[in-house]
Symmetry: C2
Subunit: 140 residues, 2 copies
C-alpha cells in the first residue's frame, strides 16, 4: 500500500501483523502520489461514490496483471478524477473507504480462503465455536 501523507507508526504496526500472519502486504510512503499514479504500470481505479458502478468497470479490468486501487480521505484532490484510468463506485451514497477497498478486492479476487499466507508463523484453524490458533503467539 502506497500511503500519503506518510504514517510511520501505521507502517510499523502493519509490518508487525505481517510478521506473524505472513503475506507480503507492506505500507510504503508515497511522498509524490500523483507521480505514483501516473507511473503505475496498469489500470488505476479510483474508488469514489461519484464514479461509474463497479459492475460496469470490472469487465474492463479483465486480464490486467496489476491494478492500483486508490481511495482518498475526506477531501479528494480533484485531479485524481482525471489521473485515474477509471472512477468506480462500490456504492453511490457516503461510505467507508476501508469498506470500498474490501468490496473491490473481493469483487476482483473473491473472498479469501481459510489458508495461511506464505511466511506465516501462526495460522487460524477455522472453528464453529471459539478460537484455535496454531503456531506463534496469538494475534490481536
Amino acid at each position: 500500500m502506497l500511503l500519503h501523507p506518510p504514517d510511520p507508526d501505521l507502517a510499523r504496526r502493519v509490518a508487525a501483523v505481517g510478521k506473524g500472519w505472513g503475506g507480503s502486504f507492506e505500507v510504503v510512503d508515497a511522498p509524490d502520489w500523483r507521480r505514483a499514479v501516473r507511473e503505475f504500470d496498469g489500470p488505476v481505479v479510483h474508488l469514489t461514490m461519484y464514479g461509474l458502478p463497479l459492475a460496469r468497470v470490472l469487465p474492463k479490468l479483465k486480464g490486467a496483471r496489476r491494478i492500483l486501487l486508490v481511495v482518498g480521505g475526506a477531501k479528494v484532490p480533484p485531479d485524481l478524477y482525471r489521473l485515474a484510468t477509471h472512477n468506480a463506485g462500490v456504492g453511490h451514497q457516503p461510505h467507508s473507504e476501508v469498506a470500498a477497498v474490501a468490496v473491490a478486492l473481493t469483487q476482483l479476487l473473491g473472498v479469501p480462503g481459510p489458508g495461511a499466507w506464505p511466511g506465516a508463523t501462526r495460522r487460524i484453524v477455522p472453528q464453529a465455536r471459539g478460537k484455535r490458533v496454531v503456531g506463534g503467539r496469538r494475534g490481536r
Copy 2:
C-alpha cells in the same frame, strides 16, 4: 444498527447522512447486547476471523428473512461465540471490522446499484469523471 456501548454523537451523524441520502439505516443504543442477540428473530452471524469460512455459512442463511450480523471491538466477550447461531470469517487473518461487515453484506445482497435510497433528497448521477449530485446540498 444496534450499538454497544452507546455513542449518541455517532447516531446523530449517521441520522444526518440518512436525511439527505435516504434509506432507513439507524443507529440504536443496545444497553443489553446479550439480550438483543438472544431475542433476535433470525440467525445471528458473528463475524470473526476465528469462525468458519463465510462461504460455508452462507448456504445456511438462504431463506432467512432477517439476519443479525455482529462484530466486536478489540476484546470480544467470549460468550458471543456461543450465543451466535454462526461464527463466520470473511478472512482468517486480522482485518477491519468495517471491512467484514461490508464484505458480508455484499456476499448476502450483492454490490449496491446506482439508484438512490427511498426518501433521498439528493442523489449521485454516476460519472466516468468528476462529480454530479442532483437535489439537496452536496454530501461530504
